[in-house]
Subunit: 113 residues, 2 copies
């Protein structure tokens, strides 16, 4: 709470998303709350590793967890996360088509060879 520059908080948030397992988790949680068990079944990673990644998301406040009997459920803490993922998808699309068009590369390169 002690004056964390805004752009640093933002950077931390994005860095939190910067991991394949964490991205997958968020995508799966878009459809609603899910127990760890289900995530584990779909993600192909060790249980302890998944748990660590979930902890990262939890600490960042992006997901919330609660216990339901023997299971632990996770859910997005805000639906805005879906927007972020969608925006990411769009950029990825834009960037990749640019690449295929390889106009960017040429302009950036100068005249070697």
């Amino acid at each position: 709470m002690v004056s964390v520059p805004l752009y640093q908080a933002k950077a931390e948030m994005f860095r939190t998303l910067g991991h394949p397992v964490r991205i997958r988790v968020l995508e799966l949680l878009q459809d609603g709350p899910k127990p760890v068990r289900d995530l584990l079944a779909e993600i192909d990673v060790e249980a302890s590793n998944l748990s660590q990644q979930l902890a990262v998301l939890r600490r960042a406040g992006i997901v919330t967890s609660f216990r339901d009997g023997a299971l632990v459920m996770y859910m997005l803490s805000t639906p805005d996360v879906a927007d972020l993922l969608a925006a990411g998808r769009r950029i990825l699309g834009a960037v990749l088509t640019d690449r295929d068009g390889l106009l960017v590369e040429l302009r950036a390169q100068g005249s070697t060879s």
Copy 2:
């Protein structure tokens, strides 16, 4: 192109944004192309460091650069980046108010109590 899973490409993109200097650069570039010189004047970081961060953004295809006389100009490679930053801002807001409002914690208890 050797089958980079989509969610990994996404993760890389978010990780690319996960750095204070890079976030600042993108925010500054939202207003249009700028020479490195101007970025340097506003960001308070060593020239070489800024250059490294710009290289990271360039490699990810998020920004493009071109030379204008003695200056090197940078610009967003797609305006979609602005959406991403905006979505990030929203989530940050939601997460922070959630923290204060502690509603999530309550909901987290499920059917007990």
